[in-house]
Amino acid sequence: MSIRKLVFAALLTALSLTLFIIESMIPPVLPVPGFRIGLAYLPVLFSVYIGGNWSLYDTALILISRILLSALTSGNLTALLFSSAGGILSFTAMALTHRFIKEPWGAFPAGIFSAVMHNIGQISAAALIYTASVFAYLPVLAVASVITGTFIAASVWLIIRKPNKIINKIKNIK
């Protein structure tokens, strides 16, 4: 990884972390614990679907750094467990979708599946720590994450669907 690409990956990580913090300031839309819009996954999904010289290895690097840094900023170890359980599952979902669909529209299924998987991971972690009754929230969260996943995917798709000068420059960072 060249310095140029490392800097850009760090930029995406910083963007993801900033969105994560901004998101925690927004009052909850639904009175369901664990519900988030998932803005922090915007740069992550972007790095999956920009293509060019960006590989899933870079995405994993961005995601892991973001999860560790967000645990540091919030100072919450339980949150680290929740977000890493969700992160691993949602990364798997994104990677699998990208494996079969490489066109820009693949951001939609990738966004939706990763959002749903993120919630499944998070609820499973919560069920391990607290009670299994938190699974009662899964149906509500699954429907909500289909909506938020579509929103995140639409944002990414709007950025990458028509290649322009800037996108191509980012794409071809060696």
Binding site: P28, P31, V32, P33, T97, F100, I101, W105, F108, P109, I112, F113, V116, A126, Y130, T131, S133, V134, A136, Y137, L138, P139, V140, A142, V143, V146
Partner: protein
């Protein structure tokens, strides 16, 4: 149309369909009217909502978290809590088994369950 688009669309519709189905099925379990209050995974209090008088009381968790619970006209809700997110307070009063009230920071769960013996539950 691309075959992969159809598969993705079908998968998303399946997720939504099964979630809604699960919501409807859990919504059918409405015969219970006993509010079970769990703190730290242990059943600490059961109240028969159909006969209970209007009252307020406070449950203290093992970590020192306190939730003030109110019973009003056969419904139960949290009116005050010292947790940081206050999600339990923002959850409306409940009277059926569709949605529990959960306070994750204080490890408090309030669920409406079918009437049963207090000691039959091993959690």
């Amino acid at each position: 149309m691309d075959k992969r688009k159809v598969i993705c669309l079908a998968a998303v519709i399946a997720i939504v369909f099964f979630s809604l189905l699960a919501l409807l099925l859990t919504g059918n379990i409405k015969n219970g009217n006993t509010a079970c209050i769990y703190s730290g995974g242990k059943l600490v209090k059961t109240i028969d909502l159909s006969t209970a008088e209007n009252q307020t009381f406070t449950i203290s968790g093992e970590d020192g978290g306190r939730n003030t619970i109110e019973i009003k006209d056969g419904t139960i809700g949290v009116i005050n809590a010292d947790c940081p997110d206050k999600i339990c307070v923002h959850t409306a009063y409940i009277s059926d088994g569709v949605q529990p009230i959960v306070c994750v920071p204080n490890r408090l769960v309030i669920r409406i369950e079918a009437s049963r013996q207090e000691n039959s539950h091993v959690d």
